[in-house]
Each structure stands twice: as C-alpha cells, then as structure tokens.
Amino acid sequence: MNLNDYLAVSGLLFAIGFAGVMLRRNIIIIFMCLELMLNAANLSLVAFSRFHVSAAGLPDYNGQMLVFFIITVAAAEVAVGLAVIVSLYRARRTTHVEDITSMKF
C-alpha cells in the first residue's frame, strides 16, 4: 500500500463517519461517528509521517506527535461529552437529537 491508498482509506473512513453523523438519531452513535472521523484524520497523519522519512531513515515524528495530542484531547472530549449526554438524559429522558430542539427558531 502506498500513501495514496492510505489517504483513500482514511477519506472513506471520514466519509462513513460523516454519513453516520447525518443518518443516526441516537446521540451516542453520533458521538461514536465523531470518533471515527477523528481517527480518520489520525490515520492520514500517521501515513504522512511514514511518507516523510528523514535523512537518518526515521519517520517524521512531528506527525505522530499531533496524533498523540489528538488522542489525548479526544479522551478528554469523550469524558466531557459523555457527561453532558448523561445530564441531558437526566433532564430530558432521551438521547434522540430530534427531541432536542430548544434552539429552534
């Protein structure tokens, strides 16, 4: 597999994630799809890191650094996001986005 293949796979993963966000009504599933999209980005970053080899024959760790940070932030995000979903469920007894339309005009 070369870089383009990885990027294509990554793009497909992203598209699946996006389609999931659009199609599903359950907010937890939507959240999972968001994670899919994040990971699609991670994959392309790691592929670029492998593609950009230094003179010493090492992959470019800058890309992997970014992945590392994304994973960390994603972990924090998941924690907060799930806490929000729990409080939302407590208040509204639902996890369906169609039922949450307080901000509608």
Binding site: M22, I27, I30, I100, M103, F105
Partner: protein
Amino acid sequence: MDESSLPWIILLAPLVSVAVIVFLTQGSRTISAGVSILAVLVSFVASCLVFHAPDPAGVNQITWLDFPALHVPIGVTIDQLSKTMLIVVTGIGALIHIYSAGYMKGDDGESRYFAGLSLFMFSMLGIVLANNFVMMFIFWELVGVSSYVLIGHWFFRDAPPAAANKAFITNRIGDFGFMLGILMLWLATKSVVFTEIEKSLGVSKFENLNLTAATLLIFCGTIGKSAQFPLHVWLPDAMEGPTPVSALIHAATMVAAGVYMLARVFFLVQASPDAQWVIAFIGTITSLMAASMAIQQNDIKRILAYSTLSQLGYMVMAIGMLSKEAAMFHLFTHAFFKALLFLGAGAVIYGMHHEQDIWKMGGLGKKMPLTCATFAVGTLALIGCPGFSGHFSKEMILAAALSGSKWTFAAALATAFLTSFYMVRLFVVVFLGEPKTDAAKHGHDAPPVMALPLVILAIPSFLAGYGFFISHFVPLHGTEAPGFVSLFAFLAFASGAVMAVLLYRGKKEDPIHIGLLANKYYFDEIYAALIRWTQELLARQCGRFDRWVLDGLVRLLSGGTYAAGFALRSFQVGNLQAYAFLFGAGIVAFLWYVVSK
C-alpha cells in the same frame, strides 16, 4: 513709580478685585463691597494721574500673539480720547459703586454683584485702553458677559434672565459683524493695531467698496453695543437689572463704548463717504424713533432707557456727520446727567419699595426733596435747558445735524422736542401733583451713601458744558453753532416742556394713548414673528431632510440588517444534524473551490 505702568494699574485693579471677591471674600458682603470700591478708587486715582501727565511718546505694549502674518500685542493707547473716557468711566464708576453699597444692601447676591461690577470695570477699561482691534474685541465681549451677569443678577425672577439672554444674543449679532470687519481690515492691511491701520490707509491699499464694507461691518459692533436701530430692542429690557447697573452700564459707559469705538477708528469713517451716510442715517432713525417711543412708556427706568437710546442715536449721527467732537462732547455730558437720572430713579424706586410705574407715584417732590432737586438738574441737563451742560452739547449735535441736510436737522430738532416733552412728563407725574398711592405718601429720601453720589453727579451735570470745564476733556477748537440753531433748540426745549406741563399737570392717568408708540412700534413682536417664521421654515426643512434622507439611510441599514437576519434565521432549525449538514456542505464547497482552482 514708572509712568508707563499706570495704565496697567488702572486696567488690572478691578480684575484683582474680581479675583479677591470670587476666591476669598464671597462669604462676606461688606468686605466684597469694600474691595470692589477700593479697586475702582485705585483706578480712578491712577486715571487722574494719567490724565495730568503729558501724552507718552513711545508705544506701551507687550507682545501676545506673534505669527508671521498676525501680530497681536496687548497694549494701551493714551491720548486725549482715552484719557477723557478713563475719567468718565472710573469717575462715574466709583460713584456708582458707592451708591450700590447702599442700594444693594441686604441683597443675598451682593458679593456676586460687586464681582460683576468689577469685572465690568475691567472690561470697559480694557476697551478704552486697547490699542488694537483684537484686544478691543476681547474686552468688547467681556463687557457683554459682565452686562449679561449683571442684568441677570436677580436670576430667580422670570424677566431678568430673559432680558440678559436677549441683551447677550442681540449683541452677538452685532459682534459678528464687528468680527468680520476686523478680519476684513486685517486681510487688507495685515495689521490689527489702530495706528498701523491708519498708516496703511494713507497708502490707500484697498478699494473703496472694500473699505466701505469693512467700516459698516465695524459699525455693526456699534449697532449692537450702543443699541442702535435695528438692534436697539435689548436696551429697554436690560432695565430688569439692578438700577445702579442700568446707570453705569446701560446709560453712562458700556453703551457709549460703541460711540467711543467709532471715535477711535474715526479715520475709517472719514475715509468712506458711503459709510458716513449709513451711520448718520441709523443714528437719526434711532434718536427719533426712541424718543417717540419714550413718550408713551410708564416705567420710570424704561423712559430713561429710551432716552438713552435716543441720545446715543444723537452721538452716532454726529459721528456720521464727521463731527467727532460733538459726539464725544455729548457722550461726556450725557454720561454724567444720565447716570444722575438713573441713580435718581433708583432712589425713587428705593424710596417707593421697588415700584417703577410712574402713575403710582406723584407728589414725591415734598417727600424726597434731595432726590427731586438732583433729578431736576439731570432732567434740565438732558432736555437742554440753557445754562445746563446738555444745552451746550446738544447745540453742537444740532449744528452737526445741520451740516448734513435739513432733514436730519429737522429730525434732530423733533427729537429734542420729544425729549423735552417726555422728560418733563416724567418729572411732573413723579414729583409734582398729589401722591397717587399709599407708597407714594410714605416715600422718603435715600440714605447718605446713596445721596452723596447724586449730589456729586449733579455738579458736573450742571457744569460739564462750560468751556472752562470741557476744554480739559474734549478739544472743541472753536466750533460755534450758528445763532438760529440755538434759537431752534431753545424753541424745541421750551415748547416740549410747556406742552408736557400743560398736559400732565394734576392728571391721574395718561391723557393720550398712542398704541403704536406704547408698544414700541411692535418691534419685539415683529422680531419674534420673524424669528419664529424663519425658525419654523428652517426646522421644517431640517425635519424633511432628517425624515427622508437621514431616516431613509438609517431605515435602509436597519431594514437590510433585519432582512438579512430574517433570512438567516431560517437556518436556525434547532436540529443538530441540519447544522452538521450545513457545516459539512460548507467545507465541501470550500474544498471544491480550492481544488478546482
């Protein structure tokens, strides 16, 4: 002490008094009055010293503004003209300060009053001493301010603030012309100093039209300050101020500033024949019109105010007839007897517990003999009774009028007749006959502090016209009036006086009613209507502009914003996925734009 510092002492003593009163002695009315009187006495003594010293040779000035194109010094002019004026201003000023100490006793604003008087003295002396137009203009405005403060002294009543506003605003109209005139002269000669302008006038650097316009604009200042037609309306209303103020500012000194200024720039008047004609015309109109209005007034101070207008018209006319001596002579004598009359009126008002209607007085001659006697002296001087000062100066004015045309002479003669008529009317109604009210029955003479200035002023009112007296002040170099002028003047005086005595002796109310004159030719009403009309027109146009142009713009903006907001509101569907869709679609569109490029 160096002689060149004397003028500065004259000028600054009242200013020091203002500062002391405002910052230190505001709480104590007696000390404030003392400080103010002391300051004016210092100015008077210094003025006497200056008067007796020979004219200084050099220029006494300090540089103030120094730009390449504009040099404005702060300097003093000492010559015969300003010396005379100094004596008049500080002398009468001192007497009126002393009189005020009695008249204003017990008034809550006494400190403020004396601060105002001192400020006025400072400003007036500044006008007298100024050696250039800019300095004169500054003091000119300061005089307006102090006049405003003093007219509106009783600001808690209704009429005085309105009168103060009227005086100030009317003056501003004239001052605007004055300022334009100064600017024109400066543009033409590159100087604002009187002597330098006079010099470059000799070189005749500018066109005739230009000079006439400039002179007339300068004359606008006189029209405002000396209350000439058509800006005369403020002076009668200014009588709402305390009576000593009316005496000092609105009779003897400030209103004479316009005449003094014309005398100071007499070279301009001489150089522009067209302007002379206009000045003489305005003066004649004012004198005749004001005298005719005076015969139907019932307020003792207003009668005197119209009389002042009329006499100022005389002076302005004399200037227009190129008789500076006659104008200054009359200014000089008028200052004394008009101040005397006003102070006498003040004493009457004081004795009558602030009653000003002459038809509620009567028989006061027996109750206030001293006031009556001094008032009689003033009246006789004003109406030109032979032997009194007014006789001499008025004859000179009439002679000057004769040098113009027979019409101006006739108008001046008619004015003299009317003057005699209304002053004798005033005197007969107030001092003779029977008391018409209880207040008049219990009238009494003024206390000594007020009586003293009356007596002192009566002396020059009588003497000021005689040659041995006046020759020290106004050089008259043998201008003798022709004999028939004296005859006519005497006839005018006598007929007016006799008619008034016959008409008004023993009358309880005014036997003649002329609505046009009693209502002052409806000037106030016409002006009010004119202003209301123009204002309404202007306001309507402004309103239209505001409604259609400005509001249109604002409505366009607000409407656009509202419409945009309304359109964008439909995106706020409240559905998370719709937002996500829009977000993704936006990114895709952006990517497509980037990629396709």
